[in-house]
Symmetry: C2
Subunit: 421 residues, 2 copies
C-alpha cells in the first residue's frame, strides 16, 4: 500500500527491505533534499558502509504547486523503467538503481553527492571538459539502440509498450512547450517588459506553423526512447563524471527533442553570461560545447550505424553502399533540423511560458534580465523559423552572432543613452 | 482452450453460446468458404431466422502455406478489436460483430452473402457508383477520429495500446511491401520476362531511397488507426453497400498507407483492363473512382477538421483562422504525397513480390500479362519517385497518360512487328 514517506519513516522503510537492513544503524539519517518541482528526494547517510543512498518518491500531486495539482504518482514507473533501460545501454552515465518499489512509487539509487546539478555549475562558471563527449555518448547510444536502426520492429514495439501510457507527462510537454507560451494563457507569467515581444510571437504565423509541425512530430513520431526533459537540471556532474537523472518524462518520440533540449539549455547558459559574468572565455566554452556535443553525437551515431546492421529498417543487402550513405545523410539531416526547431521552442518557452530557468530568471537587475530574455527569445525565433535552412550544426553560429550583434548594439545604445541623460 | 473448428464442430460451438443456441435447428449447416491466405471462414445457414452468420477463425499458421509457416492466431484479436473500433466510428461500412472469442481466436459476424469481393467485381467489369463516396467516408471518418486532430494525446495513446503488439503482421508488410520485392530475395517469384525490369528497380537509387523513407514512416509515424491491408480484396460490395473486412493488419501508422493501398488497387484494376476487356468506358469509371475517392476523402477530412476542435494537436485559440487554414493545407499535402508513394510501392510489390493480384496474375496470355505487369510497374516507379512533385490528386493523371502512351506504342509496335514477320 502506498504511503508518503518522511525523514523518519524512510529509515523504517529501508530497514524492512532485506538487502538494506544490514546497512542501517543507530546513526543512519534521512534528509529531504528535493529541490525539483515534482518529487521528494532523501539522502540516506551514515550507513554501515561508506556509501550513501538516495530515495526518490513520487507523490500524487505536483510538489511545487501542492495537492491541488494532481499528478499520478505512477510517473515513477516511467522513471525507474527508463533509468534501467538507459543503464542497460550506457551504464556510465546513469545512476545505479538498487531497488524499485512500484507500489510505493519510489526508487532507491546511487547517491550522487560528489556531483552538482549542472545548471548550478554553469551559473558558477564551471568548465566541464568531458561533458560534450559524455552527453554525446549517452544520446547517441540511447537514441540509436532504441530505434528501428538497431532493433527489429517487434523489439521496438515491445519497448514502446513500456512508455506508451506516459500520458500525463507528455501532456505537460504538449501544453507547456508547444502551446500555451505562444498564445494567451493563464499559466504564462506576467512580464510587462516582454509584452510587445509576446504579442509578436503570438502573431508570428511562420513561428507558430513550425510549432504545430514540431508538436505533431512530438505526438506522432516514435523514433526512439527519449529522456523527455533533458535540460541541464536533469544532469548531475563533476569534472570526471556525468549522470543523467529525472527521466519521468521518458517516452518514444522524435530524436530531435532530447538533442534540442540539450542545445537550448547550453545556449540559454551562454546568453545568461552576457549579463551574469561577461566571461568571454567561459562563453566560448559554452558555445564550443553546444556545437561540439552535437557534432560528436552525429559522429557516434553514424559509427554505431556503420557497426550494426541488424535493425528492422534497413535490411542487410537491401541497398548499395553508396545509397546507404546517401540515406544516412538524409536521415541525419532531418534529425539536425528537428533538433534546431525543438531547441528554439525549448528556449522560447523558458522565456514566455510558466517554467523559467534559474540562469536567466535569477538575474537580479530587471533591465539586465529583460535584455537577456529578449536576446534568448530572438535566437529562439530564428532557430524555429529557419530550421529548414540549416544543413550543418555550424550553421547555428551565424544566427548566434547576428543576434549577439543586435543585443550588443541595443545594450550600448541604452548605456550611452543613460550616460547622456 | 483453443481448438480448430471444422464444418461440424462449428455448429456445436455455436449451440453452447446462449445467444446463438435458440437459432440452431436440425437443418443448420456450416460451410467453409474462406479463400483468403490466412484464416478459415464458415457460412452458417438455415438458422431459426432469415439471417445467416459468418464465423471466422484464425489458425496458428499461414493457411495458404500450411503449418510450416507459423503465424500467431492472436491476430484475430487485432481484427476483432479494429472492426469494433471502425464500427463505432462508421457502422455503415463495417460488418456487425455478434460475438468475439479471444481464446478460440474467432469472431461471429454479419454474413455478407449479398455482396462480393470487390476485386472479383472489378474483374467482371461491374460499376459501383457509390463506392468512391463510401470508401471516402470510411477513410476520412476512421483516420480523422483516431488521430490527434480529434483525440487528446491520452485518448490516442490508450487506443494505440490495443494495436502496438501487432508485430507479426506489421513485419509481413515491412518485408513484403517495403523490402524483399526490391532486392534479391527467395520469396520473389521467378519471372524471366521481367528480369530486366527487376534489375532496374534493384539499381534505382531514387526509388529505393523513397522506399526507405516510406518504410521509416510506416515503422515510426503513428498518425491514425489504419486497416493496414486495404486492397479491393478486403472489401465486400454490391450496388448499394460497401463493407470493409479483414483488418488483422490494423495498427497505428501513417495516414497515406491505407489511402495509397486503395489508390494502387484501383489503378491495378485499370491497367488490367487494357489486356482484359479494353472497355474504355469501364476504365474511365475506374480512373474517376481512383481520383474521385481521394478528392472526396480530402473534402470529408477537412469538413471533419472544421467541425471538431477538441483534439490534442491544435488547441482552441492557438492560432488565427488564416494560419489554421494554411496548416491544414500543409498537413493534407503531406498525406497526399505519402499516399502517392505508398500507392507506388503497393503496385510495385504486386508485380515484383510474392503476392500478386488476380486481375493481373490471371491474364492467361503470357505476353499480355507481362505487358500489363510492365505497365503497372512503370506507373509504380513514377509515383514513388515523383511523389514530392505532386500537389493535387489530379497530378496523377499526366503520369498515367504518359505511361499509357508508352504502353500503347509498345503494344502497337509489337503488333505490327508480329504482322510483318
Amino acid at each position: 500500500m502506498y504511503r508518503q514517506l518522511n525523514e523518519s519513516t524512510v529509515i523504517q522503510y529501508l530497514k524492512k527491505i532485506p538487502k538494506f537492513e544490514s546497512l542501517i544503524n543507530n546513526f543512519t539519517t534521512a534528509k529531504e533534499v528535493g529541490d525539483g518541482n515534482l518529487n521528494f528526494v532523501y539522502f540516506i547517510e551514515q550507513l554501515n558502509n561508506s556509501e550513501k543512498l538516495v530515495i526518490k518518491q513520487a507523490v500524487p500531486y505536483l510538489r511545487c504547486v501542492g495537492e491541488s495539482y494532481s499528478l499520478a504518482k505512477e510517473r515513477m514507473l516511467f522513471e525507474s523503467k527508463s533509468l534501467l533501460q538507459f543503464a542497460a545501454i550506457v551504464p556510465k552515465h546513469v545512476p545505479k538503481i538498487y531497488h524499485v518499489d512500484n507500489e510505493m512509487s519510489l526508487v532507491v539509487m546511487q547517491c550522487l553527492d560528489k556531483h552538482i546539478i549542472m545548471r548550478k555549475g554553469l551559473i558558477a562558471e564551471k568548465v566541464y571538459s568531458n561533458f560534450a563527449e559524455h552527453i554525446a555518448s549517452f544520446l547517441s547510444e540511447v537514441l540509436f539502440k532504441t530505434s528501428s536502426l538497431y532493433l527489429s520492429g517487434k523489439e521496438k514495439r515491445i519497448l514502446m509498450q513500456n512508455y506508451i501510457a506516459n500520458d500525463e507527462l507528455c501532456k505537460i510537454t504538449e501544453d507547456f512547450v508547444f502551446t500555451c507560451p505562444y498564445m494567451q494563457h493563464e499559466t504564462n507569467p506576467v512580464n510587462q517588459a516582454l509584452e510587445v515581444e509576446r504579442q509578436r510571437v503570438q502573431e508570428d504565423d511562420l513561428f507558430k506553423l513550425e510549432a504545430l509541425i514540431l508538436k505533431n512530430k512530438f505526438m506522432n513520431q516514435t523514433d526512439a526512447l527519449l529522456h523527455g526533459d533533458l535540460h541541464t537540471g536533469s544532469i548531475m556532474i563533476n569534472q570526471e563524471e556525468t549522470y543523467v537523472i529525472d527521466s519521468e518524462f521518458a517516452f518514444y518520440g522524435p530524436y530531435g527533442f532530447d538533442l534540442g533540449a540539450m542545445l537550448a539549455n547550453l545556449l540559454l547558459a551562454w546568453v545568461s553570461h552576457f549579463e551574469r559574468s561577461n566571461n568571454k572565455e567561459y562563453q566560448k566554452w559554452l558555445i564550443d560545447t553546444a556545437i561540439g556535443f552535437y557534432q560528436k553525437f552525429e559522429e557516434k551515431f553514424l559509427t554505431l550505424w556503420n557497426q550494426h546492421q541488424g535493425g528492422g529498417l534497413v535490411s542487410s543487402g537491401f541497398c548499395s553502399e553508396i545509397l546507404f550513405q546517401k540515406y544516412k545523410k538524409h536521415y541525419l539531416l532531418e534529425i539536425l533540423q528537428d533538433t534546431i526547431g525543438y531547441a528554439g521552442l525549448k528556449m522560447a518557452r523558458r522565456i514566455l511560458g510558466i517554467a523559467g530557468v534559474a540562469e536567466i530568471k535569477d538575474i537580479q537587475n530587471e533591465q539586465a534580465r529583460v535584455r537577456a530574455e529578449k536576446f534568448a527569445l530572438n535566437i529562439a525565433k530564428e532557430l524555429v523559423k529557419n530550421r529548414k535552412a540549416i544543413s550543418n550544426i555550424f550553421d547555428v553560429l551565424p544566427i548566434l552572432q547576428q543576434e549577439q550583434q543586435k543585443y550588443e548594439q541595443q545594450r550600448n545604445y541604452k548605456a550611452e543613452h543613460h550616460t547622456v541623460s
